[in-house]
Symmetry: D2
Subunit: 220 residues, 4 copies
């Protein structure tokens, strides 16, 4: 389980996060920040990041499969063998079938992995919560990839997501999955009842990454 | 809203349910049975069935789209125009993404259509219930397409699904979506707390359809 | 087989093409134009259009399935029963797997249906041609849904598609699948070696549909 | 480009091919055999295999994407960074859209990677050949995962695939993608005009892997 409040950095498939470049960022986070961070490298880079840092590594996705004849699929056991301690599930760029989400959460539980289901609105968040993941990451569509941040946008939607998730299962924690760029955003997200944030380009594509890391860290 | 207890007949894409053959079955149901039935013809046959019978007609699927540039998709408004009064969502043969299921339920609500989300286990059933459809149709995988019926198989799983669904939302009703072949199965399903059944080949492919209809009707 | 040169009107899932509105357009085409036209209504509207006009009706899509247990799928046999004489395959809004395209073409051949595979560039067009459809509809991405028309945009790409398709199979004809708005565009498309055009919003969403039909007809 | 005749071993997502276990097999192949082999480990294991052996490593799949915001996808550049020299495309367990296959082949060409498109019948093989990959791997469905081998099954289908591929593009080579278990099968496949074979469980799940490697090697 991740230490909360948590800041999860999604490396996506950015050119700037491939191989050594991604590892360099992971090491920078490790050096600059406390223990509340986690990183999501691309599948071929998971082992490299897990072996060369102490930051928890999460897979960006796994498929709802068992070991077997599944060429080109992402197998949970292989992610774990490579060093993954958790999984992003149903990210807005990798939406999954409901039955597959349930199966992945179920399999992750057996392997004692941290599970984070992404959700695009409070209704989907409450549906995701019913599957008992560790976290639901609520990504308000109006905040994805734009310049609007959760600290300035209407905070009601995040509060509503937290409320709906808790109504279904008090044990499921909520993350803010979009609109986070600086420490102020982190603080705002936490004040709305979330236990952390998910961010990507705001850090991965930043010119002065060290400065962004410190700023985000200050928001915890 | 369908009148419960309900018996919903899924015509699938069976050769025996195409066009006039499907309509003949719809008329037979109308003649033999009371008002608790509904039928799910293929998309090109919806209008034909809706115009030539009083049995509620449901679409087998709609896509999570708005009117617009979506060649080859199933648009809710067109199904409604053709006469559909409800929609099967996330059938085991047409599994959908969680975010699409939510959008479809939301759009159906606006159009005042009956919504039935199919679910493959009690966990998925509770997750589906959080989206507030009218019904969750629980399809125990061990009962799909086989000879085992819900009246003889362990009934705990159906009871558990009903319990989990009601724990999330008392207003959502449960249907038994597999393992129903005769009136005894219908009776068993209802006794377990469901409000009806979903069946397909057991009637569509039956030699003596009239007999099967009467038998099922007796189970209500 | 469609009579060439052909003008195929894709009704997509536009709100303006649902049910009676679509049929009205079909009847208008029938009244105003010669026999070179075809229409692609939504699945629930195929029978209505086929029964109430003499214009060939094409399905916007079929799935690569046989009759059987495939809830919510588009079965070729049902489209044919409803009156479809051909199928759009792999439209840019409904891209298909290569193996499914092959299977659909193969099944259409058995049923003696006209097949039109859409392709987004000359390479895909030549690959599609190897599957021996009746037509390959080349949709230059730069012409889709925009204001640029094939008569003003660089015509080399269309010529190259025709050349590549003919190099693979001399019997496969090419259609221009984007950038057609008026008779001048139709004329330009035909002059580049195609045997017709595919259009949608340019007619379906037009204010004065009668005028657009006549103008397009003049381009033949 | 792979040295032909080639034997390509697909590690799939077998439990027996994860991490060190897969690497052990790669090293065994390197030690026992000549230079005609290649291996396809799972994505998280590509770097490990490429760094610790001289056997060419191929990715089991890449997505038709550019670097950017694509969480959970397989990016070509990352596979290359990890050491992949080529890619399996459209494997029977990971069928792709025609337009995506074309884009992947196109992108691989820019990166000078070996491309192998899998095909399920001679028609699909000829369609794949039109996209100008290095190889088309023909997988006769009747030979997949069964006990029938290409040396005993009717060889006409393989010969027909070779003929159809060469008719479209003389430069595209054909591999036999199913039904290969021993050296005799390799020999049979080569005698039918192919330039190599693709195999998986026959080696990955073998008890005496060393023996199987030697036997296959003898077939070249």
């Amino acid at each position: 389980m991740l230490k909360t409040p948590t800041i999860i950095v999604n490396y996506k498939t950015y050119g700037a996060s491939i191989g050594e470049d991604g590892l360099e960022l992971t090491r920078m986070i490790e050096k600059e920040s406390e223990e509340n961070w986690a990183v999501c490298p691309q599948a071929p880079d998971i082992r490299m990041n897990a072996e060369n840092s102490n930051i928890p590594v999460l897979a960006q996705h796994v498929d709802a499969i068992e070991p077997g004849s599944h060429t080109g699929h992402d197998l949970l056991e292989t992610m774990v063998d490579a060093g993954a301690q958790g999984v992003l599930i149903n990210h807005s760029e990798k939406r999954l079938k409901l039955s597959d989400i349930e199966k992945i959460v179920d399999r992750c539980e057996e392997e004692d992995l941290t599970t984070i289901i992404c959700a695009n609105n409070p209704e989907v968040a409450s549906s995701a919560a019913a599957l008992k993941p560790d976290f639901v990451a609520y990504e308000p569509p109006q905040l994805i990839g734009g310049d609007i941040s959760v600290s300035t946008a209407k905070p009601e939607v995040v509060r509503e997501a937290v409320k709906k998730v808790k109504a279904v299962d008090e044990d499921v924690e909520v993350l803010c999955g979009a609109g986070v760029k600086d420490g102020e955003d982190v603080e705002a997200a936490l004040s709305l009842g979330t236990k952390g944030v998910l961010l990507a380009s705001g850090l991965v594509k930043a010119d002065d990454k060290k400065k962004v890391i410190k700023d985000l860290e200050d928001g915890i």
